[in-house]
């Protein structure tokens, strides 16, 4: 990333153009005064107020001096003043706004009051006050401008640094005894620098305009010194005789003002891109990768959801990133199936793609995506979403963001019956209260009139379950429904989810990283690793780890301590890291971390096949304690292997 930082900024046309102009201005500011300074300020009585000629392309002024040269020489004064004023304003603002974040709450209140008062002063008033106090002149103009810029920089710095001030890394630095000065220079400043730099760059353009206006009004630069603003005001006196006199400074003011502004803008968009990672456009990437065609079995009678060859790809910096590859599974009516995997395993993306809620920019392809008899594969997302209607209900992880904070909970719940099922307002409200009551929210009629923030976390999550239920869905998709909850609340929410499914006959797909949560809730478990399903197994097998077939599933089941874990032995762990899915993975994604991996595992992708335990597994060396050919296949003295045995013994 770091090596192509510069080129990628200069590659954007706006960035290149503005950087070039600003670069030229700086060069001019340096070389123009020594080259032409004397010539531009020496009066020439023989040549007063001439129009453009080959000798003087922009004509001459009232003392016979060449206007083009004067315009060029004035670059140093004008740009220099703008730079100094902005730098002073930025420095003062930064100190005022960011320093309090390391000084404590009381200092923050004081500084904040100062900034607020300062911001309330009108700019012009401040400038006039300075003129009265200091008299007209260059210094006055610069100081006045710096003073007007200070509070807005301070406010920006304050907003940015309050985030840093509340961060745990700054709290950690305090606990570590890092001195306050170092906290400021090494913790606060680097973390707020980027937006400040962007803002400063843009402000230079605005500052240049403001300074030129002050000089134009006669309170800025005084003769014999001159800047573009001064030249404009002098040129204005002869605008009827030599109109070209204003052209030079006017063009320069506009050019400089706009190019500093543009430079800031392109810097900002460059930084945005860099933090988000610049993704290639789909046109450059070519079509999204698809999986080899599969043989599709005829649909079965009691299957609610049949997914075959589902892949999800995102445009990335070096090509398609493939968080989900060739996923196939079926879900029967009324069945509760868990999907387990680590972060980045693709479990949530898979489920959201099924619900037609894939993140923006994702390319979802499937050879079959049959939900309740309707084939959704190949449909546009909106059409498919309409076809699903209220037949899929979703329970999101974060109940606070999944509910609209501005609407009463009852109103939000009533929306589904009103919009999708044509219920009257009264009916819909009754349905909402009923739904809240069914997830055992006490005093549901009253609670329906409250706002989400008036609910506790567990109650909000139950309200979300009620909401997912109210459209009488045939399938509920729950994405980490209890991750943020306490264990006692979690148990209640899970129990209610199970009860709702049993009462309504709805099927459920429940995503979690906690295999024990799924064990209690589900009938079957899909284990995902690196974008693929590696095992599909009856949940009862989890209680007998020796029956599990995939080394990853075994390791996952053995890696968490439970209430019977042997305290004297180390916990089983999975060495290494999951593969980087932005690069093509050859072979089995788990091969690098697997003690049993053979050469075949590194070159060939194992597909899901029927296994003795009644489920399916995608592994060339499936384990089940009774497999004769694989039990000693590779390095049985390894951590992983020991882990299984430990798990089996415990």
């Amino acid at each position: 990333m770091s090596q192509n930082r510069k080129p990628s900024f200069l590659r954007s046309p706006m960035g290149l153009a503005s950087a070039t102009v600003v670069g030229l201005l700086v060069v001019l500011a340096i070389i123009a005064p020594p080259l032409w300074g004397a010539q531009a300020s020496t009066p020439n009585p023989a040549n007063l107020l001439r129009g453009p000629s080959s000798e003087h392309p922009l004509g001459t002024d009232g003392l016979g001096r060449d206007l083009l040269l004067r315009t060029l020489v004035a670059t140093r004064t004008t740009v220099g003043m703008a730079l100094i004023a902005t730098a002073c304003g930025a420095a003062a603002g930064l100190l005022l706004g960011a320093l309090p974040s390391v000084l404590g709450a009381r200092a923050q209140r004081w500084f904040s009051a100062v900034i607020n008062t300062w911001l309330a002063f009108p700019v012009l008033l401040l400038a006039m006050l300075m003129v009265i106090l200091m008299g007209t002149g260059t210094v006055t103009a610069v100081v006045a401008l710096a003073l007007t810029m200070t509070p807005s920089f301070a406010r920006l710095a304050q907003t940015l640094s309050s985030k840093v001030g509340g961060s745990e890394y700054l709290a950690a630095a305090r606990l570590l005894g890092v001195p306050k000065g170092r906290q400021f220079t090494h913790y606060v400043l680097p973390n707020i620098a980027e937006p400040i730099i962007v803002n400063v760059t843009m402000s230079i353009g605005g500052g240049l305009l403001a300074l030129s206006s002050l000089s134009f009004l006669g309170v800025g630069v005084q003769p014999p010194s001159y800047d573009w603003g001064r030249m404009l005001s002098e040129g204005f006196e002869q605008v009827y005789t030599t109109p070209t006199a204003v052209v030079g400074p006017a063009v320069m003011v506009i050019l400089a003002g706009v190019s500093f502004g543009m430079l800031g803008e392109s810097l900002a968009s460059f930084l945005r891109e860099r933090t988000r990672g610049r993704a290639l456009s789909p046109a450059k990437l070519g079509p999204a990768p698809v999986t080899d065609p599969l043989e599709l079995d005829p649909l079965q009678e009691d299957v609610l959801l049949d997914v075959k060859g589902l892949s999800v790809s995102f445009p990335g910096a070096d090509g398609w990133v493939r968080p989900v590859q060739d996923v196939s599974f079926t879900l029967h009516r009324g069945e509760i199936v868990g999907v387990v995997g680590e972060s980045g395993s693709g479990k949530s993306v898979t489920m959201m793609s099924v619900a037609q809620l894939a993140p923006a920019g994702a390319a979802v392809t499937a050879q079959r995506l049959n939900f309740d008899g309707t084939e959704l594969a190949g449909m546009r997302e909106q059409v498919a979403a309409k076809a699903i209607g209220t037949d899929i209900g979703i329970v999101f992880q974060d109940s606070l963001t999944a509910l609209n904070p501005a609407l009463r909970v009852g109103t939000q719940l009533a929306e589904v019956p009103r919009v999708h099922q044509g219920a009257t307002k009264q009916e819909a409200h009754e349905r909402a209260v009923e739904a809240l009551d069914s997830v055992r929210i006490p005093n549901a009629a009253h609670r329906a009139t409250l706002f989400p923030h008036e609910y506790s976390g567990g109650m909000r999550q139950r309200a979300l379950i009620a909401m997912s239920q109210i459209g009488k869905p045939k399938l509920i998709i729950a994405d980490e429904p209890t991750t943020a909850l306490d264990v006692t609340v979690q148990q209640r929410v899970l129990a209610l989810l199970r009860r709702e499914c049993e009462d309504s006959g709805a099927a459920a797909l429940v995503v979690s990283h906690d295999i024990a949560v799924l064990a209690e809730l589900c009938q079957r478990i899909l284990v995902m690793y690196a974008g693929r399903i590696v095992e599909d197994v009856d949940v009862r097998m989890l209680a007998h780890p020796e029956q599990l077939a995939h080394p990853y599933t075994r390791a996952l089941a053995a890696s968490l301590p439970d209430l019977d874990t042997d305290r004297t032995k180390p916990l089983a762990t999975i060495p290494g890291e999951p593969p980087d899915l932005s690069k093509p993975v050859t072979g089995c994604g788990f091969a690098d971390r697997c003690a049993l991996a053979s050469d075949r595992c590194r070159t060939e992708v194992p597909v899901l096949v029927q296994h003795r335990h009644g489920g399916q597994v995608a592994c060339f060396h499936p384990q089940d304690g009774s497999s004769p050919e694989d039990s000693g296949a590779a390095g049985s003295e390894t951590t992983l292997h020991e882990a299984h045995e430990e798990g089996a013994v415990a």
């Binding site: 570590l176 148990q491 209640r492 295999i515 024990a516 996952l556 874990t565």
Partner: protein
């Protein structure tokens, strides 16, 4: 390392008219070289106890001593560097407890420069030793936190706390933000470090299974009070208090796979 004794700790927040008692008379002892688990759900006051011990918050009343010395009085008298040597905290979320603009090497170097007499040219060796201690490769010192996985970051945070050589470490939910397969590795590491360095540690968590594995004794907090205290295995195996029983019963267990256990819990209420 030194013994921590917390006696009759009270922390009250909010206005005098409507006070919120976050911590209500807590007694707690972490013996020299011992690991004590403090367990409770959100709002139980366990994090407030932790913050008071490390000095982020101040108690309303009560005393805290470390190695027999009054920690609260001492804090007022000594420099930030001295205070840092008493207690260090490892935070819950390694994604936010490390400065994103400092490499791992810079972060550790900073701590070493503040807290040890190690000359600049010998610090790289000390950094390598620290990384080795938390089972990270030496190459990790060139990396920024954003380039590491959650488990690796948490190891860096642990190394940073160890670099101070504090007398007590407070670990606040250090595994809850990590993936299941990584949690075990961090718990193993804490256990190993404890044996190698004889750490005194207050291990705060909502995960009873983790506490049972890592701690000698455990204190269960509920609504600002400690409701049960005892050897970790006993408390988990034979909880005496109703609240502890509820907590233990709510832990999802693989043994319940395929049963109607969940539905039965609904009927019990």
């Amino acid at each position: 390392m030194a013994e921590l004794v917390v006696s009759d700790l009270r922390v009250v927040f909010g206005a005098r008219k409507a006070p919120i008692v976050a911590v209500d008379g807590v007694h707690l002892v972490v013996p020299d070289g011992g690991v004590v688990g403090l367990v409770g759900e959100s709002g139980s006051g366990k994090s407030t106890v932790a913050r008071t011990i490390v000095g982020i918050g101040a108690p309303t009343s009560g005393t805290i001593t470390l190695g027999g010395e009054d920690l609260l009085a001492r804090r007022r008298g000594v420099s930030a560097v001295q205070r840092a040597k008493d207690v260090q905290m490892i935070f819950q979320d390694p994604y936010s407890s490390l400065n994103p603009r400092m490499t791992v090497g810079e972060a550790l170097d900073e701590v070493l420069s503040i807290h040890t007499e190690t000359p600049k040219d010998q610090r790289p060796a000390s950094i390598r030793r620290l990384l080795d201690l938390v089972r990270l490769k030496a190459a990790a010192q060139e990396q920024y936190p954003s380039e590491m996985s959650g488990g690796m970051r948490q190891r860096v945070a642990i190394a940073r706390a160890l670099a101070v050589r504090p007398r007590l470490i407070v670990a606040d939910e250090i595994t809850s933000a990590l993936d299941a397969s990584v949690q075990g590795a961090v718990l193993n590491l804490i256990k190993d470090l404890r044996e190698e360095l004889g750490l005194s540690m207050l291990f705060i968590t909502h995960n009873l299974a983790a506490v049972r594995y890592i701690a000698d004794s455990v204190a269960v907090m509920h609504r600002g009070r400690i409701v049960e205290q005892g050897p970790a295995t006993d408390v988990v195996a034979h909880p005496q208090e109703a609240y502890t029983r509820e907590l233990v019963g709510a832990i999802p267990r693989i043994d319940n796979a395929g049963t109607d256990y969940l539905l039965r819990t609904l009927e019990q209420r």
